[in-house]
Symmetry: D3
Subunit: 239 residues, 6 copies
Amino acid sequence: MPRPDGRTADQLRPVTFTRGWAEHAEGSALVEFGRTRVICTASVTEGVPRWRKGSGLGWVTAEYAMLPRSTNTRSDRESVKGKIGGRTHEISRLIGRSLRAVIDEKALGENTVVLDCDVLQADGGTRTAAITGAYVALADAVSWLKERKLVKGEPLRGTVSAVSVGIIAGEPRLDLCYEEDVAAETDMNVVMTGDGRFVEVQGTAEGAPFDRAELDALLELAAGGCTQLGVLQLEALGR
Amino acid sequence: MPRPDGRTADQLRPVTFTRGWAEHAEGSALVEFGRTRVICTASVTEGVPRWRKGSGLGWVTAEYAMLPRSTNTRSDRESVKGKIGGRTHEISRLIGRSLRAVIDEKALGENTVVLDCDVLQADGGTRTAAITGAYVALADAVSWLKERKLVKGEPLRGTVSAVSVGIIAGEPRLDLCYEEDVAAETDMNVVMTGDGRFVEVQGTAEGAPFDRAELDALLELAAGGCTQLGVLQLEALGR
Amino acid sequence: MPRPDGRTADQLRPVTFTRGWAEHAEGSALVEFGRTRVICTASVTEGVPRWRKGSGLGWVTAEYAMLPRSTNTRSDRESVKGKIGGRTHEISRLIGRSLRAVIDEKALGENTVVLDCDVLQADGGTRTAAITGAYVALADAVSWLKERKLVKGEPLRGTVSAVSVGIIAGEPRLDLCYEEDVAAETDMNVVMTGDGRFVEVQGTAEGAPFDRAELDALLELAAGGCTQLGVLQLEALGR
Amino acid sequence: MPRPDGRTADQLRPVTFTRGWAEHAEGSALVEFGRTRVICTASVTEGVPRWRKGSGLGWVTAEYAMLPRSTNTRSDRESVKGKIGGRTHEISRLIGRSLRAVIDEKALGENTVVLDCDVLQADGGTRTAAITGAYVALADAVSWLKERKLVKGEPLRGTVSAVSVGIIAGEPRLDLCYEEDVAAETDMNVVMTGDGRFVEVQGTAEGAPFDRAELDALLELAAGGCTQLGVLQLEALGR
Amino acid sequence: MPRPDGRTADQLRPVTFTRGWAEHAEGSALVEFGRTRVICTASVTEGVPRWRKGSGLGWVTAEYAMLPRSTNTRSDRESVKGKIGGRTHEISRLIGRSLRAVIDEKALGENTVVLDCDVLQADGGTRTAAITGAYVALADAVSWLKERKLVKGEPLRGTVSAVSVGIIAGEPRLDLCYEEDVAAETDMNVVMTGDGRFVEVQGTAEGAPFDRAELDALLELAAGGCTQLGVLQLEALGR
Amino acid sequence: MPRPDGRTADQLRPVTFTRGWAEHAEGSALVEFGRTRVICTASVTEGVPRWRKGSGLGWVTAEYAMLPRSTNTRSDRESVKGKIGGRTHEISRLIGRSLRAVIDEKALGENTVVLDCDVLQADGGTRTAAITGAYVALADAVSWLKERKLVKGEPLRGTVSAVSVGIIAGEPRLDLCYEEDVAAETDMNVVMTGDGRFVEVQGTAEGAPFDRAELDALLELAAGGCTQLGVLQLEALGR
């Protein structure tokens, strides 16, 4: 089974960032990984949640959602169902943790940044695209804070990005599209900093369990992908 | 108080429709009224809700929502709050009724079309933009059904569009942006068919009650705006 | 199709107000429009919601609901379902806006009045009966505040009432009962002040869209009905 | 402390039943125990809940609620809060059990009767008034079924009524009003059949625990009250 | 029908208390009535709910729940269903009231004790076992408070315990197991203090209504059971 | 920082399984990892969820929850809050996926097994203890099915267990207790089959991101722990 879009096994889909797509937000980016399209906005508010007040530390959190028809078949809205599903919860928490890994909460001071990642169109890898795009929105929100001298020092410790990898028909592949994601025996999401260290590693055997050699191959592939994404993020930010 | 963007009192904002923006949907349009930006998708499914089964009639319904940071200040997600607010309910119902006004439910047969209108960016007039854009998405979904011979005859009876009007500092104005909407003494949303008849008229005195002459002036202005929107819809659909 | 109760097209049903029906409330009225029966209570509390504190302005809001067996077929309770439906939300908001139109929030001072309108028996026009009856309850609650010198000046700017109108078999009719409401091609609810100005106009094409002449005829009919209702309200209040 | 309304310790408040108050229901009664006022409606539907289908047995259930301003201080609506409180649940279940005690479910056949008991005005004893009034509504609904020959035989086995008793300042009293209810050291609700047997006994020490002699005195008083209520019910039903 | 476990009609099942079963809690007891097994924990926090602040009085409350597979057939979790059922509400309230009957709220001072009673295995009488076990957990929590000198005087006024009784095949029996509970014509839960007074009496006719003689027999039986339970509680507490 | 309980870095806490602890369930085990105590029950029902009907395949799912006072500070019940938190959702999904990895759904046939994992006492590693204990309950439920000839062939493909590992003060450690979990810079949960392959790998940088060497050390440690757990599981099952 060759890749549906003719990529090599270690090749990313075309990745683009459109900064400032949401004009009201302090930072925003429309991120595209091939046909996967996520709008990420960063909303800054003064102050922190009650449990953190007086600590001098800032707070970064995230919420992920999919538009009902971002997928091939329409899904019911979670607002209409009256509750958030497990998958949504899980991904929102992952995005929040990933971004906090590159935030110096002391330098951020008692400010809160909420990252909203809304999937407009889904073709696999929406959570990793969301993390990668949310970083760009966050970087712009931090610049916004710095321009207004609302923070001292540098709240951003570096870049963070994420990519999915998986084994399809025995072959480890980078950045799976939906068709590959469904066919994968093993599926892994890896979040890494720009200097090549791991923030999150989440590997799941969808079919048969995987052995250590397969795990190593996937980690290798992911590390290469995240390095490229880090470069693209910095380019998009004009650095 | 002149108009913030220099328009004349009876001038629409630049209106554009980007068809096919959501590739998975049977019909879709990204509609823009100035800075207001709404993605409208039409999802077709075979069959109708239980209460309509066996009637031979189709069903068209709509759901409206705003992204948390589509507005100047971030709003909490209704999915997180666990319930849909009154305003969201009200607008979803209005969009559904408006589109059903141009649907021949018999010709549609036992098929359902759900229109999802998600506001990506808000600058006033989101409900009227949603109706106007949803019509384009619906028209494409109906074409999709006709191409596949899933309907007999013509389910669409004509076009439908909507516009807001209001009185600001005593002057009746067409297609209010957010700044004007907030300042309006009277605010009216009008939904009309392409042949100049009314589907919905919803006028509200925000400040002092309005008299019959003011009501007449607003209806006149709205009729002009809807006529222009109907032409733009047909152009966008290539007719 | 003649009117089911033999009325002329521009005739109201018998309208009665029983003041003080709910002995615990600061103001209350059982309002009847024919067989439609709504208990309206006005509850006064010192203080205003958080977002209005310190403004010096009062607040008036409303909640509408129907008893499960107020209708021909029993409906499930919204408390049991765990959420409020769109129609309930919409009507509650309409009643609140309508009454605020005749309230001088400055004169009311930082007091809150909640109007509860519970439909005991429904035969069409429940929302318009609710507005009309809630005004009477509100007027009594304002008197209660004035007697206790809890407000300065006059918080009430005048009367407000509402009526439904519609076109049945081509004929514009005033104050529709349920049977007519179901049969109406066009249905309009109009809220007006005692001096003949409009607070809300909500017209909906249930069948074919309506033209300007039909709209004008309905507005005319509604204006006549509201004038009569204003007189009846003042009589009930002994003024 | 004498009784606020001058009654003797074993005297009921004036009790009235207004049958047919809710015109849409198959049976209904507005019941008043002094200032406590509850509208009870009985709604008949063919068929039974899923878990009882095919059993040949009928089903009777009840829902209790209070209007927001039935009490001295306004309560938030349970529909707005999005959930039903423990007290409401408890009372609804009590009413349902009480009425099922006099129903022959076999004779009722696969029909369902839902009793809705909505407290319009509360002055103590709302749950016991609800049971007593619901019986009258139920009896009329059963007559409705019998007239239409929808049941065979007699689904009603006899009457059922309820009353509250309590100890105030050491004195056992019948049918407590709100002021007494609040002051009671011990509070008991007793549900009895017309032939003097017990369906429910619910006694609670609000202050100090009570001894067996006190319990016996309360049971005696309740038995007397229920006997009187049974007579009043039959009178109201014209038997 | 003899008793399934060969007991005499007035005999309790083997009752055991394992104190300190939950090591994190200020007081805890695993209580067993035969195969019925409930873990009761007492959680102490400084302060009281908002509505009680500044009163100088403490607060004791309880929550009851069943593990999904504590019963013969698995039940859905109330957390998954999103709401608490009427039975759970009712029992939680009963446990709270029962324990408050032996608490001197003044001596407790502004401290709160929450009793959590989670049924690990159910074989009838879970609510009465919960009350009986919660008393032991509460007594340990009160000792914990006294050791830390967080209360003055003695917050505990005495013991409280509960037992179920019922009439099976005409015979009054003590402490029903599940099989008997299901077969009972009349079912009663009685909560009593160690000195033989009543806190709660809740009797329900499951089949035919019961007469005064049956009620007296059940009260007698329950009084005997509670006396024994009070002794066992004190033994468990080493007093 | 030495280990609080004096273990070596690669040593498990004492692990015990008490089979049959919940007598009603088809399979059950009380699993203890030191002071962490989880009751795991397996409930078998004939049939599968609607979306799987007719496939011939079985279904295994899991629900995880914590008793309110299983932790050092009492948590509010999710049933009372009316919704399940993100962490609960995430862990329930993880347990379900882990157990499905060793189930042959074809051999299971159209039967459903629900694993309920309720944490009675928490001292770190509750999710890994839950997976490890749930396997034992599942194995007993499968035996129950086989004894009754309700399945053909062998639905269990092998054992599965899980353990937490983490880096504390630079040292990789196996099976963290709560005190260590809080102090860990990196935290990883690893789920493995008895033959040493991976089902899930979830590593999270709590403090600084981790490098590849640290990741390798943790994977090594986890593999050793899971091997031991697999042996203990088989011993407990008497194989």
